[in-house]
């Protein structure tokens, strides 16, 4: 993971600051990854603009360690309906590669909810995109701040 970069960057910060290190740590690579993410979402959406609503992404505001960040997604609607969710894809736009996981739901899933644990290289946006059987696309986004430990241990 990108701990080396972040630790060094933290040393460069003013001492004594309440160091929830956020945007200050963005490097040039992050923008490229954000572009990759935008392109991946556009590919997934077949060029459509994802709408807000129907999907909820839950992620911690602050992750104590980027190695294990719990996230969950939940999508509204009857899984047997023509506009039921088919796939939810998670992206992390500040990671070396933006893809994280795709969940595929079926009517047997009972409810379109799933949780997992993911890696975040640094503070960034996590994005969840739901693709429905009727082709419509919904999106939710959360910023997760990854803190920089004082003690590498």
């Amino acid at each position: 993971m990108g701990m080396h970069v972040t630790r060094r960057s933290a040393l460069a910060l003013g001492a004594g600051a309440a160091v929830l290190v956020g945007a200050a740590l963005r490097s040039g690579g992050a923008e490229a990854a954000a572009e990759d993410t935008a392109k991946a979402i556009s590919d997934l959406a077949g060029g459509k603009e994802p709408q807000a609503g129907r999907i909820t992404l839950t992620a911690p505001e602050i992750a104590e360690n980027g190695n294990t960040v719990p996230i969950s997604v939940s999508v509204d609607g009857d899984l047997a309906a023509p506009d039921a969710v088919e796939t939810v894809t998670i992206f992390a736009e500040g990671n070396p590669n933006p893809g994280v996981v795709s969940f595929h739901f079926t009517p047997l899933s009972g409810s379109a909810e799933a949780s997992t644990r993911m890696r975040l290289a640094k503070t960034q946006n996590v994005i969840a995109v739901a693709k429905m059987r009727d082709g419509s696309v919904y999106m939710d986004k959360k910023e997760v701040k990854v803190t920089i430990g004082g003690c590498g241990g």
């Binding site: 911690p60 719990p70 920089i148 430990g149 003690c151 241990g153």
Partner: protein, 284 residues
């Protein structure tokens, strides 16, 4: 507070900031699997400047805390289960497993992890689980001793200590020369080391509950070790953590299982008297 910071030395004062209410050690209760209530705060043993000793669990964010409340969610349990398998596995020239002598660990090992380190009359020194298990391996099983931090060693130590989960830490300092080792450990605890000139106490006594950069300093209790650290995505042994701490003061650490670290383990374990054994705890 300013006076305290001054005493902690300039280097540390520069790195520290005050704890914010948002993530101060919280009032949550640690209950595992819905029914195992854990003592995570206890009256401090006489001689400590704290009113109470507090498990590191209270110093973590909710998401990290939650991982310890259910054995299925706790990834440290994977290693404990591996320890269970190893317990029953015959190894060495004597053709024995741990179970050959000790039977069911749930009975024979119950309480052992709560009084660790303990005095060994044979070795004439305090031993922890790593040393005791290796003694069993070489002398009773005629097997190779585990190399320090071999994954099998961590699994076995965690499995044995897990049998005491929920029991309060209580060392027997009346045995052998335990008091002398405790004194030596105490001396080490308050000795400043490294380019940063920190003692254990600089962080974990004088500044527990404050931030060291973004890290919220705990009391440095070891009641949950081996502990699953999210950073390493595996269980970390007590002496490995000691090594990491000393290295972070920019000093040359003592060797794992050295007399120095054994003395320190005796003293630091005592500082957690009354806290429930949490092995395998989950920390960041």
């Amino acid at each position: 507070m300013k006076g305290q910071l001054g005493m902690a030395g300039l280097g540390l004062a520069a790195l520290l900031s005050m704890g914010s209410a948002a993530s101060a050690q919280d009032a949550d209760k640690l209950v595992i699997n819905g029914d195992l209530e854990m003592t995570t705060r206890a009256p401090a043993p006489e001689g400590l400047p704290f009113e109470e000793v507090i498990s590191g669990w209270h110093f973590r964010e909710d998401e990290t805390q939650a991982l310890e409340t259910d054995d299925f969610d706790n990834p440290g349990m994977l290693m404990v289960e591996r320890g269970q398998d190893l317990w029953n596995e015959v190894q060495g020239a004597a053709g024995k497993s741990c179970a050959s002598c000790h039977g069911e660990a749930a009975e024979s090992m119950k309480g052992v992890g709560a009084k660790t380190p303990f005095w060994s009359a044979e070795a004439k020194r305090p031993v922890n689980l790593e040393l005791q298990i290796n003694q069993c391996r070489t002398e009773r099983m005629q097997a190779e001793p585990y190399k320090f931090d071999d994954p099998d060693q961590i699994a076995m130590v965690s499995f044995v200590r897990f049998q005491s989960r929920g029991m309060p830490v209580k060392l027997d300092l009346d045995q052998g020369d335990m008091k002398a080792w405790w004194e030596r450990g105490k001396e080490l605890y308050y000795t400043r080391f490294g380019q940063l000139d920190f003692s254990c106490a600089s962080c974990h006594e004088q500044n527990a509950g404050k931030y060291l950069r973004a890290d919220y300093l705990s009391q440095g209790q070891i009641n949950g070790f081996p502990t699953y650290r999210l950073k390493d995505a595996t269980l970390i042994s007590t002496h490995n953590r000691f090594k990491g701490c000393v290295r972070d003061t920019r000093a040359e650490p003592f060797q794992p299982l050295s007399d120095e670290f054994m003395a320190l383990e005796v003293y630091v374990a005592w500082r957690g008297t009354g806290l429930a054994v949490e092995t395998p705890a989950v920390r960041h």
